[in-house]
């Protein structure tokens, strides 16, 4: 283990994860403030912190802050391990780190001051997004050159996903920032933006998150991957179908109906990659490895996350169907889906991996009682949040279909929104505790090593 450890630049991994922990406290906290505004509209409502200015900080904060920062940190751990050599041009890594996080801070400040491009998940000013792209290009180059010089003959499936995610997102961020805001107005602009929007979740968060669980589940459970063939099917079906789904955000809109149908078809076909990769994860624990689910926090969270990924993604496929969109589109049903997948699946994957990586790069043993509390809070919080949001969506959707006055459907939602806030607070405390617990563990003199 110790010789292998020489492959990883512990400092840079630690720094990325630390930034990730900071975002993991901030971005969900924005979510709680937003959630409170549903019941207390005047809470913290002023020119710079009202709902319309704060919402992009929550969404972008979770996607580009929490998930991406932790994922990129884990890439710096995973790639050397899988290639058998140190990261190419390690001295560039700090530039990528500071560019990424500096751009996020500047971008968020900009949004609060009113610089918003008007495209969902594409709000950051283009100049600032180019900082993110520059950072990502450095990392892409490092990863590619490291893989090119690798010692291991085989390329493990985590690397496929990482390669694809980096290429897709380099392209997508340029596309979203420099192309969409300037060409093809009207319904075509909506179509392009629908593609961008789902490229962010489908071609960045999904492959990134899957790369993480494919690597850390077998590693933490000390059990070989169930099937490499399944991982092949999962990867290529995802790569082929996922790019086509974006327009399912705009069903029944004036965007040509056949493109909507293509998007619905592709959304349903995504059941193939989802179900194959989930089978692969549960299969990996076949035999004796299930015991790790009880003892190891990485395995526990990964397997829970895989269940959430399964539920959320299957819901996503089904909600692309026209019949289900009639009542549920525009309601909290969709918000349930985004929380189940982005938080329940991918953010939990990267948090789980932190339990594995942090003790190895920073030393020290984390407090298992705190970890136990945090894990349960995360699991209970997100599960109940998804349940309540799904319920809300169905209630409001059917109420509106029955002809209720719009604001009456808002009145119906208010008690549910309050419960949603409670579930959100629960899971956000759990998330914050992961980072705090791990950070505190490495500040103490090294005790008994983890596991």
């Amino acid at each position: 283990m110790s010789s292998e450890n020489n492959l990883v630049n512990n400092t840079i991994v630690k720094q990325w994860l630390m930034w990730g922990f900071v975002w993991a406290i901030l971005a969900p906290a924005f979510g709680i403030i937003l959630s409170l505004k549903f019941n207390y509209p005047d809470f913290l409502s002023n020119e710079y912190l009202h709902f319309g200015r704060l919402r992009p900080l929550h969404t972008n904060g979770v996607i580009f802050g929490v998930f991406s920062t932790l994922f990129l940190g884990l890439v710096y751990y995973m790639v050397p391990k899988l290639t058998g050599i140190r990261m190419y041009k390690e001295e560039w890594s700090p530039y990528a780190l500071w560019l990424w996080n500096g751009a996020l801070i500047a971008g968020f400040a900009g949004i609060l001051l009113g610089y918003n491009k008007g495209l969902e998940v594409d709000e950051l000013p283009a100049v600032i997004s180019m900082g993110l792209v520059a950072s990502l290009l450095i990392i892409t180059y490092q990863v590619f050159m490291t893989i090119a010089r690798r010692k291991e003959e085989k390329i493990y499936v985590s690397l496929w996903y990482t390669i694809a995610a980096l290429v897709w997102t380099d392209l997508n961020l340029v596309f979203g920032n420099l192309v969409i805001p300037h060409i093809m107005p009207g319904v075509s602009n909506a179509a392009l933006h629908g593609l961008y929007l789902h490229y962010v979740v489908g071609l960045w968060i999904t492959p990134g998150g899957l790369a993480i669980i494919y690597f850390f589940l077998p590693a933490a459970a000390r059990s070989p991957l169930y099937s490499h063939k399944l991982s092949l099917i999962g990867f290529w079906s995802l790569a082929f179908f996922y790019p086509f789904v974006g327009i399912h955000h705009y069903l029944f809109s004036p965007i040509p109906a056949w493109t909507q149908t293509v998007a619905i078809f592709a959304s349903m076909m995504l059941i193939i990659p989802v179900w194959t990769v989930v089978t692969n994860f549960y299969g990996t624990l076949k035999g004796g490895a299930w015991s790790a689910f009880q003892t190891d926090f990485t395995v526990k969270l990964l397997i829970f996350g895989a269940a959430m990924y399964f539920i959320g993604s299957t819901q996503g496929s089904v909600e692309a169907l026209r019949s289900l969109q009639v009542p549920t589109h525009f309601t909290d049903f969709v918000i349930a889906h985004s929380h189940a997948t982005v938080f329940g699946g991918y953010v939990i994957f990267v948090l789980a991996a932190c339990y594995y990586v942090w003790p190895r790069v920073a030393g020290g043993a984390f407090n298992r009682t705190t970890a136990q509390w945090s894990t349960w809070m995360i699991m209970l919080g997100i599960s109940s949040m998804i349940a309540i949001l799904v319920l809300q969506g169905l209630i409001q959707g059917t109420e509106l279909m029955a002809g209720a006055e719009f604001v009456d459907s808002i009145v119906t939602m208010k008690p549910y929104w309050f419960i949603r806030t409670v579930t959100g607070v629960t899971m956000d405390i759990g998330v914050a505790l992961v980072g705090i617990n791990l950070y505190a563990s490495s500040r103490k003199p090294a005790g008994r090593p983890h596991e």
Partner: protein
């Protein structure tokens, strides 16, 4: 390395651009290839004969500086996170908001503002639904107008002028932008069936219906008309209503009636006003409320003035079926307009700028500008029957008299009606 290259090239580049081509670029190219037009929209226009027709029209870019500025503020403030801008032909949205969206309505939208979530209502059909005063009051304090609203307040879009707040340049711009939404579809609202009613003449008020009506009143009407029904709600007290003040129900004076001058209105008159709203003023249309809510709130409103108990409404006038409009009828209408001196208040071109227009006041002492017919917005409705009714019964409490005794031939009323309607013509028959 070969395998890594394959992944990067096929999965990373090829699949990315394949989807972009099929889902993004191809639909953009296909319409023109089939000879169709991205600018095409169904527009309701008024003809020179004063009638409404639907035509296929092309949209043009918005050049009004105030509106384009308003759009920027709408984006800056993130209004689009909670308000979508397209309605679907499903889930009753055509009844709730209006006709489903068309491709031509969005021709020049960059970035698009379709939206993916409705925490508030859709806005593509909001243009012309409310008056500017309503929007100003609503931006200043949404809960003042809609007590159950969860929209943020936007006080930084206002400045104080004397006692009350008025929108600043940014505020005016957002109002102008919102009022222009969906306007490429023209006067569709005048043909919107759910907003116009022909109801029976009365309903029975019981103690229970008054009680329920009060609950409705406190959730929908209270912000402008006030707790006592005197038109002194919180909204007109904080924001300047520049167009018309909320009705003081205690006075027992109502403009829009089927009953003769001086009489109280029928329940069905109030029902019509509540359902259709009063175009251009802060009074919104309430066609989305259940019929029960609308009738019951009427019974509650009638408790504000003892007149309803003491002076039952007089029998209503009858309005015959309107004749078909002809050029001769319009010419006759023009003559009636001149002979009856409508121009003294409404101006010779119907712009509301007649010689007396600056001095007019209503019975409450508020200045009341005469209607500008060229705008095509008619307070009590734009059907020929609505205009005709106004001539026959007058608008109580205002300088607009009844002309029922002045018309020399039965056709005079209809001739004047179609002439007034033709002043807002914006399309050829």
């Amino acid at each position: 390395m070969n395998k890594a290259k394959t992944i990067a090239l096929i999965a990373g580049f090829f699949f990315f651009f394949l989807a972009l081509l099929v889902q993004g670029v191809l639909p953009y190219l296909m319409k023109p290839m089939r000879g169709e037009n991205y600018l095409s929209v169904t527009r309701s226009v008024r003809t020179g004969l004063g009638e409404l027709v639907d035509v296929k029209a092309e949209t043009v870019p918005v050049t009004d500086q105030l509106i384009t500025r308003g759009r920027k503020i709408y984006i800056r403030e993130g209004c689009w996170y909670c308000h979508s801008q397209y309605t679907r032909p499903v889930a009753g949205e055509e009844r709730r908001w209006g006709p489903a969206s068309e491709v031509g309505e969005y021709s020049y939208d960059l970035p698009h503002l379709f939206g993916t979530r409705r925490i508030g209502p859709d806005l593509i059909r909001v243009g012309g639904k409310y008056g500017d005063d309503w929007h100003a009051a609503h931006f200043f304090d949404p809960r003042g107008v809609v007590p159950d609203s969860i929209m943020p307040k936007f006080p930084w879009l206002f400045i104080k002028e004397g006692e009350r707040f008025v929108p600043n340049e940014d505020g005016k711009a957002v109002v102008a932008y919102v009022q222009n939404l969906g306007m490429s579809k023209g006067k569709w609202r005048d043909l919107f069936p759910y907003q116009s009613v022909q109801a029976g003449s009365a309903s029975f008020g019981t103690a229970a219906s008054v009680e329920h009506g009060k609950a409705v009143y406190l959730r929908r009407c209270f912000g402008c008309h006030g707790e006592k029904g005197d038109g002194k709600g919180a909204s007109p007290a904080s924001v300047l209503f520049g167009i018309a003040q909320p009705r003081d129900f205690t006075a027992g004076v109502f403009k829009f009636r089927m009953t003769p001058t001086g009489s109280l209105p029928l329940d069905s008159d109030l029902y019509r006003t509540i359902t259709a709203g009063i175009r251009g003023t802060a009074m919104p249309p309430w066609f989305n409320l259940s019929e029960q809510d609308r009738w019951d709130v009427i019974h509650y409103i009638k408790t504000f003035s003892p007149d309803f108990k003491n002076f039952p409404p007089e029998p209503p006038i009858t309005i015959p079926r309107p004749p078909k409009s002809t050029p001769e009828l319009i010419a006759q209408g023009k003559k009636v307009f001149d002979d009856m001196k409508c121009w003294e208040c409404h101006g010779s071109a119907g712009k509301g700028d007649g010689p007396k227009s600056d001095t007019l006041k209503d019975d409450f002492g508020d200045r009341i500008p005469p209607a500008n017919f060229t705008k095509g917005m008619f307070k009590s409705g734009s059907r020929p029957e609505d205009i005709f009714r106004t001539f026959m019964t007058g608008l109580s409490g205002t300088p607009m008299p009844s002309f029922s005794d002045s018309f020399t031939s039965p056709d005079d009323g209809w001739a004047l009606t179609y002439f007034v309607l033709s002043l807002s013509a914006d399309g050829r028959p």
